[in-house]
């Protein structure tokens, strides 16, 4: 199956290895991955800060880059949710609104694409470690992704998946919230990390680089040895 990869600006610029791992995982699952270099960002940072005009301009670019019929796979729940809701930015009846509406059903977050669309049950991965899953908010609450990543992780032989009581609690990132209200944002991260650090983990795994940056940046500052990994990295490992 041909798929179009929307890699997200954060992965593109900060952790390209996650993008490569995503390609590897999709290829192992039998996909032919296509990446359109016209893509930039989904527009979420501006949209979430109230700059709708700027968000709209960037969203148009995303519509352009993702034209076609192939399913669009996104290794991020929040960017996937943004692409699913892109039509909200445009006036009803406009051509962009129609294009955004047509795009929405083609967009899939990586883990739900693998499990729900491709029926993947396990992927060969040599990763070994004691990990927990962080449910990133938009994947969980906008897209309903909960079991899919857990199933994939459990299917990896070397993975020991430990559940945290606070797995569904927000990490405190929230886009510009993290820099506008840093003390609050960090306190929210600590609420999760206090529990997480008790569990003797090797890594916390999620499907959103933004959460991983937040948790990872804070873990580093706390002098912790717990790593942050993207789901794709574990599955490709």
């Amino acid at each position: 199956m041909r798929v179009s990869l929307f890699v997200t600006c954060l992965i593109d610029q900060l952790r390209p290895e996650v993008g490569e791992a995503t390609v590897a995982v999709l290829e192992r699952a039998g996909c032919e991955v296509h990446f359109d270099p016209r893509q930039t960002c989904c527009g979420q940072p501006a949209c979430n800060s109230g700059y709708r005009e700027d968000a709209r301009a960037v969203a148009r670019q995303a519509l352009e880059a993702l034209e076609g019929d192939d399913p669009v796979v996104v290794p991020s729940g929040s960017c996937a949710a943004q692409l699913v809701h892109l039509a909200d930015l445009f006036e009803e009846g406009s051509s962009e609104h129609a294009r955004a509406k047509a795009l929405a059903p083609r967009v899939h977050e990586l883990s739900s694409f693998l499990v729900d669309e491709l029926g993947v049950e396990s992927l060969p991965s040599g990763y070994r470690g004691r990990v927990t899953w962080h449910d990133a908010c938009h994947g969980l609450r906008d897209l309903g992704t909960r079991d899919q990543p857990r199933r994939l992780l459990r299917a990896v032989e070397g993975v020991d998946l430990v559940e945290m009581a606070s797995c569904e609690t927000c990490c405190g990132f929230g886009g510009t919230f993290s820099v506008k209200m840093p003390e609050l944002s960090v306190a929210m991260a600590d609420r999760k990390l206090d529990e997480l650090e008790q569990a003797g983990l090797d890594a916390v795994v999620s499907a959103d680089l933004s959460c991983l940056m937040q948790l990872g940046g804070r873990l580093q500052e706390r002098g912790s040895s717990v790593r942050t990994l993207h789901l794709a990295e574990v599955l490709a490992g």
């Binding site: 952790r15 109230g50 990132f173 003390e183 609420r191």
Partner: protein, 483 residues
């Protein structure tokens, strides 16, 4: 008729100081542990009763639909309510704003020659600052809900919609009683309650006027309901000669039948109960001398900025709120900083959307941004209000209505969007930007300076390491692979 949102619509307002107040709250360890304990308790109780409710989602959908219909024809339903209420002897008053509302109550108190006034819990009377207005005229309003009574005794304001004294631990309350009432400083919860009960009992009998809020008003018969657990609302509304109920105009339900849904939604969401201990229904004053109940029943219907909310297609559903407080208990921001930090009568996620709409965007700028948009509030809301969507809508209003605010942020987003709308510009900008970002994250002197001076970096590095940008981006690696 649309009435303006203005800062004067809310009795106390300091929402623009949210940042500083939140930072102060984060330093307050006793507050944070009291909050964590109480919010967990309520969230757990709610979780447990919902486990026994397989049809919860349908119930929420139904509640949402009833409210949407009621709000879409509010004029009609209000007129119906007034007709029916008046036909049963209830006197109906309208107030466009806070000042008018207080005047109505003052006028009534004057006519009755009332001195002592008992009140059961009501957020809308907090909104209009009724206690302060009455006290200014030498009257003595007494809160009869235990939590409200504690808050009044402490000279504070409620910090939660249904648990007004949630910010206080039991020990703090014992010390407060000791200081104000001269009781022993180590009373337990039961003893504290007994002290309050004893003092309050006498007050009910002295009061000439009893004031309550309204949980639901029913247009069909001009009736209204008050739900509670302590019996104080029932006493406040039956012992005094006159009962006045104050309600926001959005509290209206068209039919009795609608209650079937809301009586299931509200107690479960609010306190995790199947049903509150008391639900009192009021339909006019007593009809004959033998009847029990007050001689006069008055309803005061308040606008105070609500009709303006009604005209906003995106934000209208804010008015569907049944003030259950569930969104507060699950909100990771509220759980960290508590209600007072919001600087508004209404705290938490619902406060963050209600307040700016009642008082105007400019008077509550930080509130729509006081959220990570995690969506936990939307998931628990019994009437399915899409709070994150309304927060975004209100953030957009801030940007639109305050063009001179945050010029650097505005410029930053414009430059970013100019780059991100063109693949060529994006390629150039990221090629130039990545080495700079790497430098900023490096341990070098330049890096340290950048982290100290550039606002977003400064914010991020408050307690977090800055991630390093990649040397070679994904798109560059991909292009090489393809070549």
């Amino acid at each position: 008729m649309k009435l303006p949102e203005t800062a004067s619509n809310m009795a106390h307002l300091n929402a623009n100081a949210f940042g500083a107040a939140a930072r102060a709250a984060l330093e307050d360890q006793p507050l944070r542990s009291a909050l964590a304990k109480a919010t967990d308790t309520f969230a757990d109780r709610r979780g447990r009763v919902l486990d026994e409710m397989p049809a919860w989602e349908e119930l929420r959908t139904h509640g949402n639909a009833i409210k949407a219909e009621a709000l879409s024809r509010l004029d009609h339903h209000l007129a119906h309510f007034v007709r029916e209420a008046e036909a049963r002897g209830t006197k109906v008053h309208f107030a466009r704003n806070r000042a008018e509302a207080c005047q109505v109550v003052e006028g009534l108190a004057d006519r009755l020659g009332a001195r002592t006034i008992v009140k059961s819990k009501s957020m809308v009377t907090e909104e209009i600052g009724l206690n302060a207005a009455l006290e200014a005229r030498g009257l003595e309003p007494v809160e009869t809900d235990l939590g409200e009574w504690i808050v009044q005794l402490a000279g504070e304001t409620p910090s939660h919609i249904i648990v007004p004294a949630i910010h206080k631990s039991k020990d703090e309350i014992a010390r407060l009683f000791q200081e104000k009432l001269g009781t022993d400083g180590d009373l337990d919860a039961e003893e504290l309650t007994a002290v309050a009960r004893k003092i309050l009992r006498g007050t009910y009998l002295e009061a000439e006027l009893g004031i309550s809020g309204v949980n639901f008003a029913i247009a069909e018969t001009g009736s209204f309901l008050v739900l509670e657990n302590e019996g104080n609302a029932r006493l406040s509304t039956s012992l005094p000669r006159v009962h006045l109920a104050v309600m926001g105009l959005e509290k209206l339900l068209p039919r009795w039948q609608d209650l079937e849904t809301f009586l299931r939604l509200l107690p479960r969401s609010g306190t995790g109960q199947h049903l509150t201990s008391y639900q009192s229904i009021f339909t006019g004053p007593k009809q004959s001398p033998e009847d029990e109940g007050p001689d006069e029943v008055h309803v005061l219907i308040l606008d105070n900025g609500r009709s303006a909310v009604l005209e906003d297609d995106v934000a209208r559903e804010t008015l569907a709120c049944i003030r259950c407080g569930a969104c507060l208990n699950v909100c990771p921001v509220y759980r960290q900083v508590g209600g007072h930090a919001y600087g508004s009568v209404y705290p938490g996620p619902i406060g963050a959307i209600v307040t700016p709409q009642l008082v105007g965007t400019e008077s509550a700028v930080p509130l729509p941004s006081a959220s990570s948009l995690c969506g936990a509030c939307r998931d628990v809301c019994p009437v399915k209000i899409d709070i994150p969507r309304i927060l975004l809508h209100l953030r957009g209003k801030v940007v639109e209505r305050m063009p001179t605010r945050a010029p650097l942020e505005r410029l930053g987003f414009r430059m970013w969007s100019l780059a991100a709308r063109s693949p060529r510009a994006w390629r150039i900008a990221t090629r130039v930007g990545r080495p700079l970002a790497r430098l900023a994250a490096s341990p070098s002197g330049v890096g340290r300076l950048a982290r100290r001076l550039v606002p977003p970096l400064q914010g991020w590095t408050h307690g977090r390491a800055l991630p390093r940008a990649a040397k070679v981006s994904f798109r560059e690696r991909y292009a090489r692979r393809e070549a």
